[in-house]
């Protein structure tokens, strides 16, 4: 089967051609503004070795033992399995860690332990008053926290219920792990990372592409112009080129998955948040002309979007590898969860032959970006980022809460087609952040309810 061959050559070509590629035309470098003396940067390192990977980042997808160019389907699959196992292990760790914290909770360190799960009981209290009225107070608390080196826990706790626009960009950088918490390291790291990104661009984007990379580029070029067709910002050529570069560089640095349709949508929240840093209060990003910004600012938006996307996707890369096993697993878990939480709804769906894969695949693949207005997605991601490493699991509860939210409407539908049409086009056009706050609160309740029985997700979920 040719598909198989393609898969094999996909692996082969990426591992073979990316490292040790002939040096790029260095003079194209647009932002390499005198690097700090002494800080032997990634560029120097990269130029001197034939290894393209920055060991700090996304080592997750570096699959060893592929030097030998001929790769069978078996090998590629076992490599994919390696990736999956790594993920599974880290997830288990998280589970155990929250488990132990539960026990520790019984002892005196209640406060500390609670803060490990951001927005625990405190969070529920915060959800009662409307958010708008305390925006100013909240902004004050953020600013107070950010001038020093905050602890990640404090920042998560505060961010979980939403981050004011004014401090969102810096908070997202911190929460995603891109920007160090330590104040003194911040500027150095930012400068180096941004330079690194542009080195990748020079080295991989503005060079001849082999066949695999041409395919990636081709797919990206097809998808970027048609994302968010209703938002003028994304129709601008400058913006589209930035997206193409971000996605291309991300793809070649993540050969285990490569670019998968939908990842383009996942860049949009980051892009908008970093763009908003340069907009005045309440200026709508939707219609902003980015060409009004100078090149330096655009470069920062692009590099930061790239790095935050990278960090963000690290914990869910198995969603995008061959056969998308991560998603398939989560679909089963979602079904298991709904079966437990709302038997009536579950039976209703089953009775009409609706399978969870049919509607929740897109929810999981695109992290609900296709189901919600962009502004709501951004608010939702405040919480995702505040969930930190646990966000992949948390997203499952959000999907469950999202499905349950529509229960009444779903129960009214009497056949397969009605159900599926509704599930594919849920009317969220007029949602605002208050609905999101409700959604994550519900998700949080589910999480707490089931955190004590972590096995419930596994029982029939094919995790034998």
């Amino acid at each position: 089967m040719e598909g198989e061959q393609d898969k094999a050559s996909f692996w082969k070509k990426n591992t073979k051609t990316v490292p040790g590629r002939p040096s790029p035309k260095r003079d194209v470098k647009s932002i390499a503004k005198g690097k700090p003396a002494g800080a032997t940067s990634f560029q120097d390192f990269q130029a001197s070795v034939s290894d393209a990977w920055d060991m700090d980042d996304d080592d997750i997808c570096v699959i060893s033992g592929l030097e030998n160019a001929k790769i069978s389907k078996k090998v590629s699959q076992s490599a994919a399995l390696n990736v999956l196992n790594t993920h599974r292990n880290t997830t288990t760790e998280e589970n155990t860690c929250s488990d132990t914290s539960r026990k520790a909770q019984v002892i005196q360190e209640v406060e500390q332990v609670r803060s490990r799960i951001p927005g625990r009981p405190q969070q529920l209290l915060n959800l009662n008053p409307p958010q708008e009225e305390d925006t100013q107070i909240k902004l004050g608390r953020f600013e107070e926290l950010l001038v020093n080196s905050p602890t990640l826990q404090d920042l998560c706790k505060l961010s979980w219920s939403g981050i004011p626009v004014k401090v969102r960009a810096i908070t997202w950088r911190l929460l995603s792990g891109y920007l160090p918490i330590n104040l003194e390291r911040r500027n150095g790291v930012l400068e180096r990372k941004r330079q690194d990104y542009w080195t990748f661009v020079d080295k991989y984007y503005y060079t001849d592409h082999d066949e695999t990379n041409r395919d990636i580029q081709h797919q990206i070029n097809i998808d970027v112009p048609r994302m968010n067709p209703s938002i003028p910002l994304f129709q601008q050529k400058t913006v589209q080129i930035m997206f193409e570069r971000i996605l291309f560089i991300w793809s070649i640095r993540h050969p285990a998955s490569g670019y998968v349709q939908g990842i383009n949508d996942l860049v949009t929240p980051f892009y908008v948040v970093f763009l908003q840093e340069y907009l005045s209060d309440n200026q709508p990003f939707e219609t902003f002309q980015v060409d009004a910004l100078d090149k330096g600012k655009l470069n920062i938006i692009e590099a930061d979007s790239f790095w935050c996307l990278t960090k963000f996707l690290d914990s869910i890369q198995d969603n995008y590898v061959f056969a998308q096993i991560g998603i398939q697993k989560k679909v089963l878990q979602l079904e298991e969860l709904i079966k437990r939480v709302d038997e009536t709804l579950h039976r209703h769906l089953k009775q009409h032959n609706v399978s969870y894969l049919q509607f929740s695949f897109r929810w999981l693949n695109n992290l609900l970006t296709r189901e919600l207005p962009l502004r709501c997605t951004i608010r939702l991601w405040d919480t995702y980022l505040a969930e930190n490493d646990c966000f992949a699991t948390f997203q499952l509860y959000v999907c469950a809460a999202f499905l349950l939210f529509w229960k009444e409407d779903l129960m009214r539908e009497r056949d397969f087609q009605g159900l599926l049409m509704l599930l594919q086009n849920l009317p969220t056009q007029h949602w605002s952040s208050s609905q999101i706050s409700l959604l994550v609160a519900e998700a949080y309740k589910l999480k707490v309810m089931f955190a004590d029985s972590p096995n419930h997700l596994l029982s029939n979920a094919g995790d034998s």
């Binding site: 089967m1 040719e2 598909g3 393609d6 797919q219 097809i222 998808d223 112009p225 048609r226 994302m227 968010n228 067709p229 129709q235 998955s257 490569g258 998968v260 349709q261 939908g262 383009n264 995008y320 061959f322 056969a323 998308q324 398939q328 032959n353 894969l357 049919q358 695949f361 897109r362 693949n365 695109n366 296709r370 009214r412 539908e413 009497r414 056949d415 397969f416 087609q417 009605g418 599926l420 049409m421 509704l422 594919q424």
Partner: protein, 215 residues
């Protein structure tokens, strides 16, 4: 929401396949809602729509599954081939590569779909006359060689969209109703509410290219 066309004589499941960006989703939206979006979002996984048509006084309901074109989604989309009695294999007449890949899509169907599935080759974007890269005659000959029906459409200006769906559904209907005449109805006949896979016998006059092979 719940449309009132839930009364039908036959229910046929049809899949839309083909490379990314050839216009599968727009063919579907044109056929089911008479809508077209110049920049419609990429399809993630599989999306669904439905429409009923009349053939010989019978109501035929088409349940159409629109699939993502990217290779990474094959594992997911292939699951939807099961039980499909028809497939519209779409390419873009202005992009030769999407036509070259038709063979791969046929292989994909052969591997995952019912062996008797009715396949129609669809050259979409026929409105792009000045950019044409695939000759009608060439595609037509290819379709004949492979026992496929063939049509060129434009989801943008609506040309032949209804006809394409009408033709494939009619073809499936003929096969199914012939089968019913030959083999008097028993348990496996399609009845309303029955979404089970339908066993379609091969097109009678196909020149033997799509021979029944072992399974």
């Amino acid at each position: 929401m719940g449309t009132k066309d839930d009364e039908y004589d036959y229910l046929f499941k049809v899949v839309l396949i083909g490379d990314s960006g050839v216009g599968k989703s727009n063919l579907l939206s044109r056929f089911t809602r008479n809508e077209f979006n110049l920049e419609s979002k990429s399809t993630i996984g599989v999306e669904f729509a439905t429409r009923s048509i009349q053939v010989d006084g019978k109501t035929i309901k088409a349940q159409i599954w629109d699939t993502a074109g990217q290779e990474r989604y094959r594992a997911i989309t292939a699951a939807y081939y099961r039980g499909a009695v028809g497939a519209l294999l779409v390419y873009d007449i202005a992009k030769h590569l999407t036509y070259e890949n038709v063979e791969r899509w046929l292989r994909e169907l052969r591997d995952h779909a019912d062996q008797n599935i009715v396949i129609m080759l669809v050259g979409n974007k026929s409105d792009l006359r000045h950019l044409r890269a695939v000759l009608t005659e060439e595609a037509k000959a290819f379709a004949e060689r492979n026992g496929l029906s063939f049509i060129e459409t434009s989801a943008l200006d609506s040309t032949n969209v209804d006809t394409a769906f009408q033709n494939i559904l009619t073809e499936i209907y003929r096969i199914v109703s012939q089968k019913q005449i030959r083999d008097p109805p028993e348990g496996d006949v399609i009845r309303p509410q029955n979404v089970e896979p339908i066993d379609v016998k091969p097109t009678v006059n196909s020149d033997g290219v799509r021979k029944q092979c072992c399974q």
